[in-house]
Amino acid sequence: MSIDKKRTPYLLLAPAVLTLLVTIGYPIGYNLYISLFDWRMLESTTPINFVGLDNYVNFFRNPDMLHSFFITIEYTILGVALEFFLGLILALILFEKTRGFKVFRLLLLVPIMATPLVIGLIWKLMWHAEFGIINYFLSFFGQSKTAWLAHPNTAFIAIVIVEVWKYTSFIFLIIYAGLQVLPSDPYEAATIDGATYWNKLFRITLPLIRGPMLVAVVFRMIFTFRVFDQIYALTRGGPSDATMVMSLLIYREGFAQWRPGSGAAMSVILIMITLFFALLLIKAIYKKSEL
């Protein structure tokens, strides 16, 4: 192979790599750098108090930060679990091409197309204790007014419901696409052997779409763990930090209280966790392709 042919791929890749280094690499590197400082931005525009790993250690010692971490874990697990079950059921129902399935399929895409911030603002009005439409409809069933966003427990449930409402269709889409490409032979053979719908579902369909299900779940876990917009619009992390997910805490630390060092350390921890989920996804995809 000539020297030019050896160099050419690298030369062609160079602009893209440079762009990635500037737009992604540099911010990540700088973020890591400032995470080693106790930086009060209003006092100085450059980081001045080097503290090493203290910001990381403080994360695990600070009860507010740990609380935020566990809230985020709970939110992610609950939200994604509900999205998965609902998305799977919807995909299976619509795959049977029931009457009106095309309209339902289209309607299911509407939540995912809307901006998270706008969704948050609309749902905030819907959850309003005095003027909200949800309380209005619940009153027909004899339910008294609930201040959904005012109590820690109900506020948490409210944000999970919004999350599920918005992103169930994402899981539905991926699983539905997976169902579209299933081979028909196993089903024909199963029918001949007298298998019922449930036999086919648990013995053929679910095992065959394991890959897409896993991809959908892990994708959602990555993005749900980093949620910000809709919770900011709904509750800003309240009441009493009951919905203070990590992204919101990072934002508050970095941009409301102007301590970017501490915020940067938390964001690095958040990146590590989402990287872990991403590695799970890669492993799942590799395992699928090996099969």
């Binding site: 009060r40 931005m41 209003l42 006092e43 525009t45 309003h128 204790a129 005095e130 003027f131 008294s144 007014k145 609930t146 201040a147 966003l149 005012a150 109590h151 820690p152 506020a155 509750t235 800003r236 992390g237 309240g238 009441p239 009493s240 930090d241 508050r252 941009f255 409301a256 209280q257 102007w258």
Partner: protein
């Protein structure tokens, strides 16, 4: 080669032409300054109607950018830190202004000396209001802000409901117990469906600075202080006044005298509930009267009355002044024009326009005393009566974190998660650790 030279020459000619035209256009273009503020404040200028006179006289155009309070609290420090010259005149709020930001703004007293404020100058502004934005907060401190929309929290109450119930409103030198009793009597289920239709009281209880400021409006008149003046290096709210204010808020919440929604409500929600006729009493920022008396936005037009909120008669500095001031960005490239605009916006005539037509609280003695203001603004007497007992708030660099700690604990106590005593103790401990380090 010849072709390349030709194109190079054309390129140079086009660049030179473009540059000189641009420079000429720049010289001919009138001066335009950028003002960043809150939408409500822009609204009190008649959505810019007021500026037409200013632009006609001075040739200075004013472009306005508005953001909600929470966004301003983040955007303005970001602009300062970036040494940005995007905005020339900056409007900022007592809740978010801290002494740390003094280095990013001009000393307005120096500007006043070179080019004095009209209509009586600085002496026409209450010294306390000006002191709020001085660093340090003494009369000789650097004057960072020019008061533009400053007021006090006053009592808003439904006169019609008080008349119906035959009780007197809890005005002035009275106690929170009287306030509570009045609110309790006025809480009503008007249609017998078992649901409260009119709450006796309403307040902001969101677990952020709006909630802690609102609680402070109940606690300060009885002797609580977020930080103890003049050094602001110690919490001063864990006392009988602070505890009482918290206990009454918790009691009203538990007894359904306030809506359960208060724990997520900020000023927009509280104003809306009051204007929709769902609450009988509140202690609110004075300028909010404009929404109550606006037929397009309110169901209680003509039914509201305003008074001095409850306070301990032995406390002279009882009601904290809060609001917005104008700041001159140190990095602005149009400071002269910006100062002209600031002088105009806070002149006597402009303040009368803003207060009489749009409910903006004035910041000049001459406007407070003017017949026009007193005859047309329903809160004039209440504001004057409350301002007599006015005091400043701290502008400590850690105010944002202080409010965050305080509001979280207050919210937890109101909802019943923790006892009020523990809430204030925990908040005091954390805040003292913060301000003493």
């Amino acid at each position: 080669m010849k072709k390349a030279l030709f194109f190079a020459l054309v390129g140079i000619l086009v660049s030179v032409f473009g540059f000189t035209t641009g420079q000429q256009m720049k010289q001919e273009r009138p001066v335009t300054i950028q003002w960043i503020t809150h939408p409500v404040i822009y609204a009190v200028t008649g959505e810019g109607e007021l500026f037409k006179e200013f632009t006609a006289e001075t040739g200075i155009n004013v472009e306005v950018t508005t953001f909600p309070v929470a966004t301003l609290s983040e955007k303005i420090p970001a602009e300062f830190i970036a040494h940005s010259d995007t905005y020339d005149v900056i409007e900022f709020n007592t809740a978010y202004w801290t002494a740390d930001m003094a280095k990013f703004v001009e000393d307005l007293e120096e500007w006043h000396e070179k080019d004095p404020l009209p209509d009586g100058g600085l002496s026409d502004f209450p010294a306390g209001m000006v002191r709020q934005f001085r660093v340090p907060q003494i009369d000789s401190g650097k004057m960072c802000g020019l008061p533009h929309r400053m007021g006090v929290d006053i009592l808003f109450y439904r006169q019609d409901l008080f008349n119906q119930a035959g009780i007197t409103p809890p005005i002035g030198a009275t106690s929170l117990e009287t306030y509570y009793q009045a609110a309790k009597k006025l809480t009503q289920d008007t249609n017998g469906d078992g649901q409260t239709d009119i709450y006796g009281c309403i307040y902001q209880g969101a677990s952020d600075e709006t909630g802690s400021q609102d609680w402070y409006g109940w606690a300060c008149p009885f002797g609580a202080r977020i930080l103890v003046p003049p050094d602001w290096n110690k919490a001063g709210f864990n006392n009988e006044a602070g505890l009482n204010a918290l206990k009454y808020r918790r009691k009203m919440y538990a007894e359904g005298i306030v809506s359960e929604g208060v724990l997520s409500w900020r000023h927009v929600d509280v104003r809306e509930v009051m204007a929709q006729g769902l609450a009988a009493l509140s202690i609110l920022y004075g300028p909010y009267w404009a929404q109550m008396e606006d037929p397009a936005k309110s169901k209680v037009v003509g039914k509201m009355a305003y008074g001095v909120p409850p306070r301990d008669p032995d406390i002279e500095e009882a009601h904290f002044v809060r609001g917005w001031s104008l700041f001159l960005n140190k990095y602005s490239t149009k400071k002269q024009a910006a100062w002209q605009f600031m002088k105009f916006l806070t002149s006597k005539q402009a303040e009368i326009y803003q207060s009489v037509n749009h409910g903006n609280p004035p910041t000049r003695y001459s406007v407070f005393r003017s017949g026009e203001y007193n005859s047309k603004v329903p809160t004039a007497d209440a504001e004057a009566g409350t301002m007599k007992y006015g005091t400043i708030q701290p502008n400590h660099p850690e105010m944002s974190k202080i409010h965050s700690i305080l509001s979280k604990n207050l919210s937890a106590a109101i909802s019943g998660e923790i006892m009020p005593e523990k809430a204030l103790e925990d908040a005091e401990q954390q805040i003292n650790a913060l301000v003493q380090n």
